[in-house]
Symmetry: C2
Subunit: 356 residues, 2 copies
């Protein structure tokens, strides 16, 4: 069957059948435009009968809005990102925006993808798990296209971002493990120069140091299951293996737990405590029951979309660095301290008095 590129039905025909003005038809299909429910009904009925649909792409040339947000994401094997993507698509859909998905290289190189995004005249861009070069950031500003870094920070402060307080959460994890009377600590790092890894490592290590802990080992997992497995084997094969490990995300923490249990016969948390970051779905599965710093996906996504919309609608890009509050969700993968764990909404949280 031949492709009809443009539906034969015009808004004029719809107006005729519906017995309304052509502008009423156009307002019916313009998000946010004022239209009486009764008229809207007539138009939709007629449109349905005729199989009419407005051409969003043509409209975008008139309204200077594509109503498309470009999202760059990678690490789909880390459940955190699919959860974020699902929430982003739903939130944008509620606002009648749509999500053009780009898969980023793991090395975070986004330049090639970026050219493509820009070609679609997206109204905004969300960069998750990739960073943006200063050049590209400036190019976006010049083009007036809002960009939000999701779970990434911009040390130059020229790009907006949404994060949890990575350093504070990592400090709390160190406090938790110290209160649990652990002796030998290890940090399984993500990609060394990723902003969240830098913050999580700094908060964890500095807090331990400040309490006089000397035995802190840092190994590279690079957010990758195989590299994390190698790093874990290295730790557990050492003469004095750690009894407390903080992995920079849950995905690596679960790998560490599996290696510890199934290759080294370690009991968790008896022989080893493991803590992660993200609080993704699998962390709640009984096989892992991972203690983890939460990143509230819905709040982070709501903040991201609200920030984008504000910048799109005001046509004014004021970079903002938003921080969403997380919590240390206490499960069974790490020995619990005698005090400081409270019950709230069916969850166990670490909230010692001294930490606000």
């Amino acid at each position: 069957m031949k492709r009809k590129t443009f539906g034969p039905v015009t808004s004029q025909q719809v107006a005729q059948i519906a017995g309304v003005s052509q502008s009423a038809v156009s307002r019916t299909f313009t998000p946010g435009a004022s239209i009486s429910p009764a008229t809207r009904e007539k138009v939709l009925k007629a449109a349905r009968e005729l199989g009419y649909r407005p051409n969003a792409i043509a409209r975008s040339l008139n309204t200077a809005r594509s109503r498309i947000v470009g999202v760059v994401m990678s690490y789909f094997d880390n459940q955190f990102y699919p959860q974020v993507l699902e929430a982003l698509a739903q939130k944008l859909d509620e606002l009648n925006y749509h999500l053009l998905l780009f898969v980023g290289d793991r090395d975070g190189n986004v330049d090639r993808i970026f050219d493509q995004i820009m070609q679609y005249r997206v109204d905004g861009i969300v960069l998750a798990s990739v960073s943006l070069s200063i050049e590209l950031s400036e190019e976006c500003l010049a083009a007036g296209i809002p960009v939000v870094l999701f779970n990434r920070d911009d040390e130059n402060g020229i790009v907006s971002s949404v994060n949890t307080d990575n350093e504070a959460a990592a400090r709390q994890i160190a406090e938790f493990l110290l209160a649990g009377e652990h002796q030998r600590f290890a940090y399984v790092a993500g990609i060394a120069d990723s902003s969240v890894n830098i913050a999580r490592q700094a908060g964890f290590v500095s807090t331990l140091r400040s309490k006089g802990v000397e035995d802190i080992r840092v190994v590279q997992g690079n957010y990758d299951a195989q590299q994390t497995s190698r790093a874990a084997r290295e730790l557990f094969s050492s003469p004095q293996p750690p009894d407390a490990i903080f992995a920079a995300n849950d995905h690596m923490a679960l790998t560490v737990m599996d290696i510890a249990r199934y290759e080294f016969g370690l009991r968790i948390p008896d022989d080893l405590s493991v803590i992660g970051y993200d609080d993704t779905g699998p962390s709640g599965w009984p096989s892992y029951a991972l203690t983890s710093a939460s990143q509230p996906v819905d709040e982070m996504v709501s903040a991201t979309v609200a920030l984008l919309m504000k910048q799109i609608e005001s046509e004014n890009i004021e970079p903002e660095q938003l921080v969403v509050k997380g919590a240390l969700i206490v499960r069974h993968s790490a020995r619990r301290p005698r005090s400081g764990v409270i019950e709230k909404d069916g969850l166990s949280l670490f909230q010692p008095q001294e930490v606000e």
Copy 2:
């Protein structure tokens, strides 16, 4: 900063700086157009200097191609779908197509989303984990927009689809469990009217019946973790609990394993064998080592994209039902039969002689 909707730079300016014709500029940015590498280099260099980008949306009005494929997906908590989405985005990107993501309702109602997809004049549509009403299927045909159902079948045969052989794989799972000398069987069903659930249930139950098995229980998990937990508790609380369970997907199978182990103290596979479908990432994690019927994501996605491209480029939609070959990946969640398990490419597969 004010939004500049259309970059100030024109293809004319690029042609001037590059010292080439304007058509050379346009051909450089038209996928598949013929252009000498040298000229292309000049154009790209000039475009980069000037910050020029072609307007894909405006171009789509001329070429009658948006180079956008609409993808409808749900169940992001089932790792199979994020894996599929990542592969789809990458494959389409290689062909300079892009992916507009829509999250479907779990009840599979796609009509509202569908209106939105059509507004963007997508060149093709992939429906994963949602079905399409006959009305909508016909509407797509009328509009000349190719649709491929992914991991879903269309009993009417008017829509193209890509699947593994669900019924044959389920028969093989029954054979495997029979060869393992299990006695009491259960099937944890997905959504009752989903095509893959119907095929998997039919293959499993009919094979067991044909071998004279009477004790077959069917419970509803509906692809949902909570409903699956309830269904599992119901099974394990019964006077004669099953010793062999086939769950319609891995996501439910992992839940069944956790309930069995952590709520009923069952040993797997000593007391209970569990088999899933999809062979997703977590199924390979040592905590589960789930025996599962594989759905080769890359092959299924390649077949889907190839089918779409053929229909888009030929402007001729001949519905095709493609079946990709999977295998029963044997791990440790189910008791192994004495024979029929072979080693291949570092995997254990079930390939009894009698089954081709």
